[in-house]
């Protein structure tokens, strides 16, 4: 008896726990439930016609069934989908999500700084590479992916479940991975890796290639070297005895699938002439080219269609960022046209038969992504095709159409559930499923990407012995930060200002301390509507500051 009695509370507790876990909100990451049914919802399957009122069942990370006469299995957690629309999980086909932020470097200004080589710590380099950082095709996004981060949360909160993520910098940038935006380990997140080799045309600093001229020659020389490395190795392996062993080279080895046309090459190009150059280089080496960016791709549409080159089209549409000022010359027509025409590119690509998918193009404000998709739809792209450009088209271009991109049995259970049409202005994301599990959604107003820094702040600066109060006016547009200070330390514009997605704020400003004008650097973090951090003034001992909100931006 005592034994039984002692066991009973344990059993009760266990039952209670199970019940609790069942009752926990559906956002729990590590839920024991693996079967869900969303009933009575509008299903945009993409692979077939829209089902106005149907049920989709997912189990064990996969879609089981979707249709009209489908009933929820008894063990399923049922979500009433009345008034909701279910889409395949959206795919962002070019990001740096999950990859560490580059270490802060001085902004690439002109003058002497531009001539100096970068410190060897950045960008990241591979071990024992034969090539300097920036020319290392062997780098893999897969090796650097982290499972968490504000950006990943922000992206899936707008319904993005899957993203192509590529190393950030370089000429040969490295190899990308397609990741689901949820998982406990990097390995769980990876859907496919490597997906493609990525090429940027940004010259290196201080070393060859230091110009676009050199970038092209470097790409060419390394591809020729890779062809020779492949052939030399083949000769050596046929006849190792009596042949001098070639040096191994991981950089060249990584390029062999590229020059053999087995691995696609994503080139970051936007203007007509950049795209033309990419096409020429791809023809010269018979590469499997994918264009990323593609702002003026419509002007090369005929050639893109003929050569079957798809476009990862950026939704980071250009817009004027300067205020109206009397003393500034009108902008050139070229710029004015470019901003208007960028909205029409997607529609024109569709008409020309060029395959494309959408990507965020280093947009920092997630709200802009859907707003810009809306502008593209208003400028000639049918809404149903805009859905495709976020789902089945990227799945096809990235080679995962059997796993992703539509609501079909057997595909990965990535679903984006909205209240309202995906592209409507007031749509809310109701649920996001990734690999069959609901994920936490961050409220859309969270994080500094919503331009939270904009406004007037009253700042208390403590410089060791004394406190000073100044006023700080900030204006944030994405990751752009401008503003001014006024008060006892003087008045002036801030410069070198930056803000990260984690809310880290930095800027410098000229201040007047005890009659001396010096440069002050403010570095702090935004949390709970306060910016706290340190201030360094040249020639003074370091201090601290706290900024609290005092009003809206003027």
């Amino acid at each position: 008896m005592p034994k039984v009695r002692s066991r009973l509370p344990v059993a009760v507790l266990a039952l209670l726990l199970v019940a609790l876990s069942l009752n926990l909100n559906t956002n729990a990451q590590r839920s024991a439930i693996d079967t869900y049914a969303i009933t009575n919802a509008r299903l945009v399957t993409v692979s077939g016609p829209v089902i106005e009122r149907g049920t989709v069942v997912i189990r064990n990370g996969l879609i089981v069934v979707a249709g009209v006469n489908v009933s929820a299995p008894p063990d399923a957690r049922v979500i009433d989908g009345t008034g909701l629309t279910v889409y395949p999980g959206l795919i962002d086909s070019y990001t740096n999500l999950g990859l560490p932020e580059p270490s802060p470097t001085p902004s690439p200004g002109g003058g002497l700084a531009a001539l100096l080589p970068l410190p060897s710590s950045s960008p990241r380099g591979g071990p024992n590479s034969t090539q300097p950082p920036g020319l290392q095709p062997e780098l893999m996004a897969e090796d650097a992916i982290q499972t968490s981060g504000n950006e990943i949360e922000a992206w899936r909160s707008i319904g993005i479940t899957t993203a192509l993520t590529s190393p950030r910098t370089g000429v040969w940038m490295g190899q990308s991975a397609l990741i689901d935006l949820s998982g406990e380990t990097p390995q769980q997140m990876i859907v496919r890796s490597p997906v493609a080799m990525h090429v940027g045309f940004t010259p290196l600093r201080g070393i060859y290639p230091g110009s676009l001229l050199g970038v092209f020659s470097t790409l060419r020389q390394m591809m020729l070297d890779a062809q020779r490395y492949r052939d030399s190795m083949a000769i050596y392996e046929r006849n190792p005895r009596g042949t001098r062993r070639p040096d191994t080279d991981r950089s060249l080895a990584a390029l062999i699938p590229v020059v053999d046309g087995r691995m696609p090459v994503v080139m970051l190009v936007n203007t007509e002439r950049e795209i033309t150059r990419a096409l020429d280089l791809a023809s010269e080496f018979k590469l499997r080219l994918i264009i990323a960016g593609g702002r003026e791709a419509d002007r090369v549409a005929e050639r893109l269609a003929k050569q079957n080159v798809p476009v990862l089209l950026s939704l980071n549409l250009p817009k004027r960022t300067t205020p109206a000022m009397a003393e500034v010359d009108p902008e050139p027509m070229r710029v004015l046209r470019e901003r208007v025409e960028a909205q029409q590119t997607a529609g024109k690509l569709l008409k020309a038969g060029v395959r494309f998918s959408f990507q965020s193009g280093s947009l920092t404000d997630t709200a802009d992504l859907m707003a810009n998709a809306r502008r593209v739809i208003e400028n000639g792209l049918p809404a149903a095709d805009a859905v495709r450009a976020f789902t089945i088209w990227p799945a096809q271009i990235l080679g995962v159409e059997s796993q992703l991109g539509s609501i079909e049995p057997g595909k990965i259970a990535n679903l984006t559930v909205t209240r309202g049409d995906l592209f409507a202005r007031d749509t809310r994301i109701a649920h996001v499923f990734i690999d069959g599990r609901p994920v936490d959604l961050k409220p859309p107003t969270g994080g500094p990407s919503r331009n939270l820094l904009s406004g007037a702040w009253s700042v208390n600066v403590n410089l060791g012995s004394r406190d000073t109060s100044i006023t700080l006016n900030l204006r944030q547009e994405g990751d752009r930060l401008t503003g001014s200070i006024s008060g006892p330390l003087g008045a002036g514009e801030i410069s070198n200002a930056s803000v990260t997605s984690a809310g880290e704020v930095r800027f410098t400003v000229s201040v007047n301390v005890e009659g001396q004008t010096s440069e002050a650097t403010f570095a702090g973090t935004l949390a709970n509507n306060e910016i706290r951090g340190s201030v360094t003034i040249v020639g003074s001992s370091p201090g601290t500051f706290t900024a609290t909100r005092s009003g809206q931006p003027n």
């Binding site: 020659s217 002439r273 205020p323 500034v328 010359d329 050139p332 027509m333 004015l336």
Partner: protein, 465 residues
């Protein structure tokens, strides 16, 4: 003088308005220019003469020529027709000019970075220029590969390439190469070379390597037939163009200033058995004119620029005349998007300074640069069978009051003053519409009143169309 200044101002305002592709297509394939004064370059000046352009070629030069019924007829009474001007030293339409990280950059190609929408091209057409020698900058003893283009503004870059032009390369000597104007940055090693001695050594080293490279490949090719397991030598994009120079398949265009370095390069070229095709700038060329002539090199120079750096102190404006009298083929180049619009005036200066004849002066911007680029069978004079690259001027091109009415490239109009003027209202209207578009609205609140806004013509401020 006032008129002259006004004219210059006007020229600086005309800027853009290219023919778009569709308009170029609409151009007739046959044009008859009637009753002009024709500056043929090779056959003197012909009064009251017709020039017939057909299928991109000059099909006739003479009196009372007949054209087919659908030909465009231009009455050029009182006007001058001259060959399109050839600029033997240009950096227009290059997105980047220098790869300055290394002393030898023969692997880089200007053809990789062409920008066919560069508005300077249109301005050059408006100055009667039709062909450019696009050169790498002068940051390295051995620079990048050149590109010879026809200015087909509005067409894709691939259509600009001058078919059959000799491939070339930029060399450079002296201050630019020594990086004399670069600041010393503590902790940063200066790029070698830092002296003229080093410049010579860099070039000698490069050609020594090129010679070895050629030998390695020759040996491999000879042996590869017998031994299937031979690993081929590495293809080296830096050395391949230098081998082409040694084989006489690529022209050297060498930027230089002072007499001693010119002699140095001549000796070095003799040592390796290649020729320098042109000395560029060559401000002290007059001191070694005989040696340049004996080497068989051309000279591509400025009319009267001097004193802008130490190595330019010994320049004299008689350089063109002295070199020409020594038997050197001399051209006047711009090396500047601005000067390129008025190369006619640069050539005219040679008549003023050195008593050169009108024909000699005209040749310096037409036939002579054509010879220096190996395209003299195609362009550089008005002769039947040559390319229809011509410009109609409203007066003699050596007058500062003259301007270009129409410029043809391969028989197609790429600049027309009347069309340019006619399009301006249309562009102003387009600008007004574009400025109202959502993405072009100012970012911040606070709209300006229209009066507060400084207005300029719709076709200015770097427009390209």
């Amino acid at each position: 003088m006032k008129r002259f200044i006004a004219r210059l101002l006007f020229l600086s305002i005309i800027s853009t308005l290219p023919l778009n592709a569709a308009r170029a297509q609409r151009q007739s394939t046959e044009t008859l220019i009637r009753n002009a004064t024709v500056l043929t370059i090779t056959h003197g000046t012909l009064e009251n003469t017709d020039v017939l352009l057909r299928n991109g070629k000059i099909a006739g030069v003479g009196k009372n020529l007949n054209a087919s019924a659908n030909a465009r007829i231009i009455d050029a009474t009182g006007k001058f027709v001259m060959p399109g001007i050839i600029d033997c030293h240009s950096h227009s339409m290059l997105d980047t000019i220098n790869e300055s990280t290394l002393a030898v950059t023969s692997m880089v190609r200007t053809q990789d970075v062409l920008n066919p929408t560069d508005v300077d091209l249109y301005r050059e057409l408006a100055g009667g220029v039709t062909t450019l020698n696009l050169l790498h900058g002068s940051a390295n003893p051995i620079g990048g590969l050149n590109t010879v283009v026809k200015i087909k503004y509005g067409r894709p870059a691939s259509e600009f390439l001058f078919p059959g032009a000799m491939p070339g390369i930029k060399f450079a000597l002296g201050e630019n190469v020594k990086r004399s104007s670069q600041p010393n940055i503590p902790g940063v090693t200066r790029r070698y070379p830092n002296t003229r001695m080093g410049v010579e050594e860099v070039i000698r080293d490069a050609f020594t390597r090129a010679r070895d490279y050629k030998r390695t490949w020759d040996e491999y090719r000879a042996a590869a037939g017998k031994d299937k397991n031979l690993i081929p030598p590495r293809r080296d994009l830096q050395l391949e163009p230098l081998v082409e120079i040694l084989e006489g398949k690529r022209y050297v265009h060498a930027h230089c200033y002072i007499a001693s370095e010119i002699l140095m390069l001549i000796n070095l070229a003799d040592e390796f058995g290649f020729k320098v095709k042109t000395f560029q700038h060559v401000l002290e060329g007059y001191k070694v004119a005989k040696e340049i002539a004996a080497h068989g090199a051309g000279a591509s120079i400025f009319a009267d620029s001097w004193g802008y750096k130490i190595e330019a102190y010994d320049a004299i404006p008689y350089n063109a005349a002295i070199l020409t009298r020594a038997g050197v083929v001399v051209s006047m180049n711009s090396d500047s998007d601005e000067r390129a619009r008025r190369l006619n005036i640069e050539a005219a200066k040679a008549m003023h300074w050195g008593d050169m004849t009108e024909e000699q002066a005209l040749k310096m911007i037409t036939l002579n640069p054509a010879i220096q680029l190996g395209i003299q069978d195609r362009v550089g004079s008005i002769e039947v069978g040559k390319d229809a690259d011509v410009a109609i001027w409203n007066g003699h091109p050596f007058s500062v009051y003259s301007r270009v009415d129409t410029t043809f490239v391969d028989g197609v109009v790429y600049f027309d003053r009347q069309e340019d003027l006619a399009r301006r209202p249309e562009l102003a209207k387009e600008r007004a519409t574009l400025e109202q578009a959502e993405p072009n609205k100012p970012a911040a609140p606070g709209q300006l009143s229209p009066q507060g806004r400084r207005r300029r013509p719709s076709h200015e401020s770097g427009d390209e169309i």
